[in-house]
């Protein structure tokens, strides 16, 4: 088609304006001097000052980060195992149930996951005395459970694309299946494992609904803190917090993008070199 798709390009422009105008507006209003969060009253950085002097925010962020680090790591280990199982072990007893268990949390509404986890923890505490109180442990357990299936999806689809010939070669050369998995399979799928970890980390860091059900007194994560404030309406210090979040995430994503681009180019170059060397 030689015609320039004017309509489509216009729609793209409108779409990106729609994506970013609310975020930009929020960033601009974070420098608003007025207490009324939506009326402009001059430039000020006082909301950033109040944000940084707020100990609650710091504590909540620290708790969120600890939960996210721990749950993402556990979720990656469990999720990778499940992904390998689904991609490689074609036949075993209970495969249907297993793949159902991996898919269901993906499409379960968060409210239902939330109430079911909470009831589960309460009844477990009643029957076996563990987990004794709700807080860090229960939130982490719930986060691991619903973020591991995202890791599984990523790992599984990467494994289905991976070339099995290398694994078979390692087997032929006398490696045991176990060694093949550690020496060949895991390195091959390591980018998928990394993106799985990142996804699990962000999901945990971002979650409100499941955390609000499974947490207990004294364990307020950052999203819960924001949630309790935002429910009462628009407040200027949340604008400042949001601006910082968007900036940090934007910078991280940009760096990751550049690095991935470079790695991709290097891989292409290596592949070409290897190809030429073969000729």
């Amino acid at each position: 088609m030689n015609r320039r798709p004017t309509f489509l390009i216009t729609m793209l422009c409108f779409g990106f304006a729609f994506f970013y105008i609310p975020i930009l507006s929020m960033m601009v209003y974070s420098f608003n001097a007025s207490r009324l969060a939506t009326v402009w009253g001059g430039f000020s950085t006082k909301w950033y000052v109040s944000l940084f002097s707020n100990r609650q925010v710091g504590e909540a962020l620290w708790l969120s980060l600890r939960i996210a680090l721990l749950s993402a790591t556990c979720a990656t280990i469990l999720g990778t195992m499940a992904g390998i199982v689904l991609a490689r072990f074609r036949r075993f007893k209970g495969r249907v149930v297993f793949s159902g268990l991996v898919t269901a949390p993906l499409i379960m509404p968060e409210v239902i996951t939330g109430i079911s986890s909470l009831m589960g923890f309460i009844l477990m505490a009643q029957w076996i005395g563990w987990p004794a109180s709700r807080g860090f442990t229960t939130v982490t357990l719930a986060h691991i459970t619903f973020s591991m299936v995202f890791v599984t999806t990523i790992v599984q689809s990467r494994m289905l694309q991976a070339d099995r010939a290398i694994e078979e070669a390692a087997m032929d050369l006398g490696s045991r299946p176990w060694q093949v998995m550690f020496d060949v399979t895991l390195p091959v799928i390591s980018p998928a494992i990394l993106s799985g970890w990142l996804l699990a980390f962000t999901i945990s860091l971002d979650d409100v609904v499941i955390t609000s059900f499974t947490t207990g007194p004294g364990s307020t994560t950052l999203p819960l803190l924001i949630w309790s404030k935002v429910k009462l309406g628009v407040t200027p210090d949340i604008n400042a917090l949001a601006t910082l979040t968007v900036l940090i995430v934007g910078i991280c994503v940009a760096i990751a993008g550049v690095m991935m681009n470079r790695a991709e180019k290097r891989r292409e170059r290596d592949a070409q070199l290897a190809y030429r060397a073969n000729e």
Partner: protein, 313 residues
């Protein structure tokens, strides 16, 4: 093949099948303990009886073993029927809007140069990495009574309508309209990405052939692009509809409290009314209602996986 070294009994078991059993067993047990078990509690709870004890439910004893009062209330009490209808209408509206806005964007992404395409794709995904809560919050700022955005819309409205209808501001917050707009905003990437993945794979020579045979661009779109993108539309539509129907955060923050969505009803029954059995009945009903769309989704998912595995061979 080299002869394997002699192993102890345990090592023999481990290398033959133990390692496999372990990597199957550990995630399996985890999911059974922390997902299936709590889920079974919900199902059991939905037929329990509410009691003024802590935790607030009872089975057996003076209570009936199976109490279907919760399910009966779903049909008697109009609150629940209305909540289900509101959820379906809002989620369907958001899905349709996402399709209308997302389809041209996804198609546009396939028509720009490769370098800018990667950047634009990143810009589609970027809001997804920032906090969901804060994206909803951004719209609370825009829709508030005295915001610049509301002022702009109010001016436009007053300019277009007769003076007698003039308003000071447009009441947007705490309406189902606000819920649909915010859902469109937060779920749009879920529509664009699968659609883009689908449209990118299409063979453009078909378009050219149709053009050569005299089709106009609109006809090419209707006869060639659209039919081939149905799988992408279904995948994107379900990725928006399923989470939107059970949404809790958006209706709580910008929704109309007098006509709540089902997610909010479940949460209120559970926490505010502390009626676990009723909350569970509503939850089970919501799941039953979503079994249809979920099965369509998993069907297409497994089909796509099969295709990917086949391309691999």
């Amino acid at each position: 093949m080299a002869a394997p070294p002699k192993d102890g009994k345990l090592a023999q078991w481990f290398h033959r099948r133990g390692w496999q059993d372990m990597i199957i067993g550990i995630p399996y047990l985890w999911l059974i303990l922390f997902f299936l078990f709590p889920f079974c509690i919900v199902v059991a709870m939905s037929v329990a009886t509410r009691t003024p004890t802590a935790p607030p439910f009872g089975f057996g004893g003076e209570n009936p073993i199976i109490n279907l009062a919760g399910y009966a209330r779903l049909f008697h009490d109009t609150l629940y029927i209305r909540a289900f209808l509101t959820s379906i209408v809002n989620a369907a509206g958001a899905t349709l809007l996402c399709l209308v806005v997302g389809y041209p964007m996804a198609l546009g992404l396939t028509r720009v140069s490769k370098g800018s395409r990667n950047i634009l794709l990143m810009l589609v995904i970027l809001p997804f990495w920032t906090s969901f809560l804060l994206r909803v919050y951004a719209w609370m700022g825009l829709m508030a009574k005295n915001s610049w955005f509301n002022g702009l819309l109010t001016d436009a409205y007053n300019f277009l309508t007769p003076a007698a209808w003039a308003v000071k501001s447009i009441p947007m917050m705490h309406t189902n309209f606000a819920v649909v707009v915010v859902m469109l905003y937060t779920y749009l990437p879920f529509m664009i990405l699968p659609l883009y993945a689908n449209l990118e794979r299409l063979d453009r020579t078909l378009d050219e052939a149709a053009m050569d045979l005299g089709s106009k661009p609109a006809q090419v779109f209707r006869d060639i692009t659209l039919p081939q993108s149905i799988p992408g539309i279904i995948a994107g539509g379900l990725l928006v509809f399923i989470p939107a129907a059970g949404e809790l955060v958006i209706p709580t923050l910008v929704g109309d409290a007098s006509s709540p969505m089902i997610g909010r009803v479940i949460s209120d029954e559970f926490t505010a009314a502390s009626d676990w059995p009723m909350a569970s009945s509503v939850a089970v009903a919501l799941l039953l209602l979503m079994v249809g769309p979920m099965m369509v989704y998993t069907h297409y998912q497994s089909k796509a996986e099969g295709k990917a595995a086949e391309e691999q061979k």
